[in-house]
Symmetry: C2
Subunit: 119 residues, 2 copies
DNA sequence: GTTGGCCCTGACACCGGCGTCAAGGTTTAC
DNA sequence: GTAAACCTTGACGCCGGTGTCAGGGCCAAC
């Protein structure tokens, strides 16, 4: 399939697909006319990338998952590198949540105080 | 005092102070040589901006607090507009935390699953 | 043969709060 | 008189993923 169809089926844009390619996450055979030519495996790769990006992964962090898929695994998440990224992201998320929670509580307190003083 | 001293006392950079001024958050008298001249009130304003930025406010969101301080209030937070921004930010934070928490839980589940499958 | 829809590459724009450099003027200390 | 440390304005760079435009080629339908 060509890039437009892949983009639509993966719920993204042709621009993004070229971007992923430029960063070595997606490869494309070329038709004789120079158009990119993709298959179903590429669709799975792009879907994997998209779902990870949606979660908040950076593009680089999706690389182990892509390679894991390419290595023939049913899931991109079962390889050691992918799992390591998962763990890292999880602790990153925990830290982020903790910080936000602390800010939230502090803000809540300051809001209450401001309301009290404003009467 | 001049911009370097204000920056140091407020824990920021001269660049930032000029940036705040360019966005109408800070005004400066000028000495005869053209140098910016600040007083203690300006220091309080900058400190207010800094602490809000540190919490995660955008620069625009600090404006009501600055104006509240300039209006002669002891705290920048006691004016209605400031309180409104506080409320808005609080709900924004709550939403953000909820989303992150959902992502976290999902990630945790996927990690467990990946580990199980990777055996 | 021409219109329209797809594709190509390359490159600028965005957002936000700065860092940092350029090219100059001023003041202080020696 | 000169070095050093301050100040001025103006402008580009960053980060990351993507939108969007420019300028062009390919192909199918009419």
């Amino acid at each position: 399939m060509r890039i437009g169809e892949l983009a639509e089926r993966a719920g993204t844009s042709a621009r993004s697909l070229r971007y992923y390619e430029a960063h070595g996450l997606l490869e494309a055979r070329r038709s004789t006319n120079g158009y990119r030519d993709y298959d179903e495996g590429d669709l799975r790769v792009v879907k994997e990338i998209r779902s990870l990006l949606d979660i908040g992964f950076g593009l680089e962090e999706t690389r182990p998952f892509v390679e894991c898929l390419r290595a023939g695994n049913d899931s991109g998440a079962v390889c050691p590198d992918s799992i390591a990224v998962y763990r890292h992201k999880l602790s990153e998320l925990d830290g982020c949540i903790d910080r936000l929670q602390a800010v939230r509580d502090r803000l809540r307190g300051e809001l209450d105080e401001a309301i009290t003083q404003a009467g």
